[in-house]
Symmetry: D2
Subunit: 424 residues, 4 copies
């Protein structure tokens, strides 16, 4: 029995899919203790958009640590924080017409950013209900968990999860049904059971929910419903943000203007714990320390995050690069679908947040297990774990994408054959 | 207007007490951008027990980063995690008769560890109520916040906080009243309104609550009430643990055996976001991934945490060192009390988690503002911010303690004189 | 200022629509202190299915009171209770294949019966979620209110309303959308956000919600979804039961077999406070007194209720009578629709639970105010008070129906004309 | 198997203590179907303060029914309601300096009155927390149940019970501890965990809780704490009101002025379902119909209630009568205590809400079972059912009291002997 089985909690999960011990990593490569190399199509569930241990970020980080820069300072002012704020303001907010957005450093986890956003929305509007969507995932701490759809997580709470109203996500009621119309009908109906919400929280592409990409028009309709009904629009961009879908924020393509945005995962650029909520300054009615936490404002993350913004978001070249890779990856996935199940398989998602939906979790599970045997770290998502999810580093090389596609090709070939045998 | 006022959220708080920009730090010293040095009696609110940027931890960290060790790997196995688990098992759990304890990596924040502990306790017992104490602080995310006493934080939630029953902490009902007897009376009374709890969550010394130190006998009584009434005992050792009160766990002195312990803050040893819950293996009924989060298992923190355990907890020398410093500090604080208010001031706390309780928050506020002007970073705590809280690095030098005591001497002299003028 | 304005709470409501003082009543007639007679198309919001002060019930009641029969006996056995139970068993349960149903006497209000049903369902299934529908009304006490849709009532609670999941009622998503399919999709989707419910609570015709009559097939589909997903089906028959829609239970037409049924309003037959839940005996896992209340089991109501069951439900003649009157009334309503707004008006409901839906609450309000001036007591319902609701006593005469229809004819004529002027 | 066992729910409870079928009743006498007479020391758990079927109330009731007075009229104005309001205003409110109190007709159950009071308090203050006490009983519907202490009832809810903070009742922490000081300490402590409450709800004598009578000074202290801390004081006088303790309201002796009072049980005077909340007019900020219910305003109860007020509360003679009977009863109970257990037994309660506390529920259970065999209907109360509770009709004769005391004497003799045998 190894040390993990002996001492680590049964709650551990990813390690069960990948029963090796990783030691080093670089870019899209993960290397085990015994020297085997895997290509990473998981990327820390979207945390490693710039790959593992990006050399320039690593250099900045080591330099900062070596110079005895502040590592932990609660939310005291630090040079590193100032530099991050300036960079985020200049490279992210300003060019996107969000120069009036404030940045709140929450506890350095996505769920904590969601908690903060939900609290602030309720405080601003003086109402308790938040609208969330089927298959949404927003974290596992008590406040955020109410908005998360997954019963596996919800069931672990052990108390009532309050004041979230669930609306079907785009497409949930079938093609041609605009579920924002259902939302608005409820809002206009004083006995619908939906109390006037403070806000709507939405992912533009539902990562954990199965790479369900909301249509741009649906997002615009949702924004309009929020405006007409005095509700805040919160985009939870923790997984889909930081370039994953092709632009810094995932909602840029739709042209909407959320009131609040949560960011975490790839924000530090280096896989360091970090999270923020950014929102229009009129909403900034927090009293000092009202929402707090020891690790809000992670100085090491300030350093790598600022560096990552400078490196990748100073001009449009990275956006172009993502687009090319996304096209390449999605073409590859479409090819697999055509080859192994034009009726039963389907490409889901948007940009480099794409994958293949299988008829069930069993098939998807076989694919990823087989892929792992052939050197690819990749996971499933979706309500039934039925989606093979390609969450590659955005800095991955074309060759690495091709390697992954080849591995997947073989895995799908096998799984499809097995499935056919079973069906017939 | 500086960048912080322009862009950072109004929720920022510590920076308001210390309106400078810190740049570097070493041990108990904080250095500003313009070169001024402060002695740190705050230590990241208990996060920097081994001081800022401890040289050997720094070295280990840089070495790990340089070698491209895994930085982020979700909860996949890594060499760094294995090494941390082995070290924690050997240096912490085993010598304390806790070799059967499991370690759960939660999101890397204290509040997330508390959420996990509360969930697991409810799941194990199949009951929803948790007992928490007056002036308790356990974090600000929805689940943990229900257990936190502070109305400032509670009021920000905007929804009902469920299923926590509040009991007066040791001493709350005056000397000579054992509040565990009240708890047991409620438990034995089927119409008390206290539904059979799953667990009790307690801090042995309430950090945010004003350095209220529970008596060892009271803790033993509390443990006995838990045993007699089939409730789990959770010690939230996030602030008081990792040596702060003189032993690794704060409850060792009382000789109790909690069922679960939460740790965070100083666990990484370097101020890195990190948190665990450790609990008896029989309680480990989690299903894989039931409570999760992107940053659970921070590899950089594994490295520094393991190193810190090796450095400081391989023998008893650190315990002795803390004891000497605590005696020195507390003697100094007692001297201040005798000098400036034997009737009105009072030394609170235990070990290096000690401070001076003032008659009100106004006086305590004057003391820390004056101290800051003279080069000391120090904060207040308590329901009315009335306690001047000395949370020095455990690695501080005697000379630095003396410097701090001198600064506090002058600050108390001034504040006491002012108070006297006001009263007369 | 009269005594009502001086002393009665501002919460009073129906009296504002009918600013007279009623003194006596008989059948479908209400007589004021100053001798004016009104025809009653409100019938105590469905409480007076057998009319006011039915002579034979009155006689039985007076006889019982005169003989000093037990009036109040908590839930002790009484002859009156035995007689009611026997009669209910013989006349109601047995003929409908429900001989294995138990009868629980809750507090004598509809909301209390709903509370009891929801509690028992949760206890039986060991789960907390209950599914309720848009525009549902189930009462105003804390437990039941969570299932009620009306924001006017919900907003008065002042705390979180827990563990009810709202599903669109039949027709809510437009013609051709079977909302039970949406419910089942949520149930089969482990990240839908709908935790496995203990039960579904439904009105077959939503009285307060605007006389929305569920299609019989939809009800059968709902029952099937409950069966396939191990959920209890609770029919809240408080307003639609006791003959209102043409059969004793409103769900008989659809041929479904609910697990639990709540009854109140017309159950006593005489307007006396009374309520029961009846459910399959396997579900009867209550411990003695677990849900209680001082007035559960109202002996005067036992007497009139048993008498009413004997009088009206011993054979099918009353069912036939209701059917004829319903046809007559609905024909009359259809005529009004054709005459005053074939495009804008619409007949809603089922059986003698029918009315006319107006384009808005303003028009419906004008109709009922005008009707009252001409001797008709009638109210609106619906989310926007847009439905003119004809809740006549089932014992009303054809002549009285005609009187009412005449009054409504004039009122609609006026309101329609006014509306036309406004539009043009 | 009789009809009750066959058809009535397992939730039935009192009938299990008294396994006979009652048929008629008069004053303090209950007569079974087979002609046996019992003396009633239970009085409908305080619902029959004027005895069963009081002749003058009966006469008024029959007259009203015979004249076809309105039986059910929702909350429309009726002559009977006007008369009740005038009488209540003149006989109850005005003489007690409460002429500015409004009367709200809630659903006709105590729990519904409590729900209404809690809602209104929360609405008035814009806060959600309500303070309730250990051993308090306020009803079993979801909102009120949160304030009820009994785990038997609470456990049946199946969802979180929100926003009630429990404080030890007078005497709970032992003699000499004023628990209102604990309450005030919590209120003045911003990290106590007690969020600023909207109101305190209290019974002056806890009926279900074991006849715990609050000291008059404690009640005055509680009122003062409410005033100093801007909280409403709600006296739940459902069981202790209507003369039970010697004055119309139970709090008159203490000289306090609650902001709201709930009344039910004996308010109708005849055992009819009826309940009100009465409160200072400034608090009357309800919107029409915001809290509603079909049976609010029970006209038959208006008739008997007004008559009862006229008969019993027009002068002080009834107060004197209660006082004499209470003295007589309590002397008798004291005698029993001296005789059968001066160390182990104890007289509890106040006025005609008195009883004997036994060392355990077993002994009390034996007493009442034996008493029933000898012709006395009497029940226990208290957390462990350890109090033999004498809730006689206030109109009982001295001879009937003596009969009951004799029966109790023999029952205690037997139970005490048995207990002694067991102990030795």
């Amino acid at each position: 029995m190894n040390i993990f089985e002996q001492v680590e909690s049964e709650v551990r999960s990813y390690c069960r899919s990948f029963p090796v011990v990783f030691n080093r990593a670089q870019g899209a490569e993960l290397i085990t203790e015994d020297g085997r190399t895997y290509i990473d199509f998981l990327a820390g569930a979207g945390t490693l958009n710039y790959g593992h241990n990006h050399p320039e970020l690593k250099e900045a980080l080591i330099e900062y640590i070596s110079s005895e820069g502040i590592t932990h300072g609660l939310d005291m002012h630090s040079s590193a924080k100032a530099h991050f704020l300036e960079t985020f303001h200049e490279k992210v907010l300003k060019p996107r017409g969000m120069e009036n957005f404030r940045v709140m450093f929450t506890g350095p986890t996505g769920t904590n950013a969601v908690e903060a956003a939900m609290k602030l929305a309720r405080k601003v509007k003086g109402r308790s209900t938040i609208v969330a969507f089927t298959n949404g995932f927003h974290g596992c701490s008590g406040g955020a968990l109410a908005a998360t759809g997954n019963e596996h997580h919800r069931g672990a709470m052990g108390t009532s999860l309050n004041d979230v109203f669930r609306i079907p996500f785009d497409g949930y009621l079938g093609e041609g049904v605009d579920t924002t119309e259902y939302l608005e009908k409820l809002l206009n109906d004083p006995s619908s059971g939906l109390d006037h919400p403070a806000a709507v929280i939405v992912e533009t592409v539902q990562g954990e929910g199965g790479l369900n990409a909301a249509d741009a028009q649906w997002l615009r309709n949702l924004e309009a419903v929020c405006r007409r009904n005095d509700m805040l629009l919160i985009v939870d961009d923790i997984q889909a943000g930081c370039g994953r879908t092709g632009s810094f924020f995932s909602f840029e393509e739709a042209g909407i203007k959320p009131d609040m945005v949560t960011l975490s995962k790839s924000l530090s650029g280096y896989g360091l714990p970090f999270a923020v909520v950014t929102y229009r300054d009129e909403l900034d009615i927090w009293e000092p320390g009202e929402h707090n936490g020891t690790f809000r404002g992670n100085n090491l993350a300030f350093v790598t995050a600022a560096k990552a913004l400078e490196l990748f978001w100073s001009d449009d070249s990275f956006v172009d690069e993502i687009k090319q890779k996304a096209t390449h990856l999605r073409n590859g996935l479409e090819r697999l679908v055509r080859r192994y199940g034009p009726e039963s398989l389907k490409v889901n998602g948007r940009g480099l947040m794409s994958g293949i939906e299988c008829p069930d979790g069993e098939m998807a599970g076989e694919v990823i297990r087989d892929a792992f045997k052939n050197g690819l770290v990749i996971e499933t998502s979706g309500a039934h774990d039925q989606v093979v999810k390609c969450l590659v580093p955005l800095t991955i090389t074309m060759a690495q994408i091709d390697f992954g596609l080849d591995v997947l090709d073989k895995a799908f070939a096998k799984a499809a054959a097995k499935r056919e045998r079973k069906v017939s």
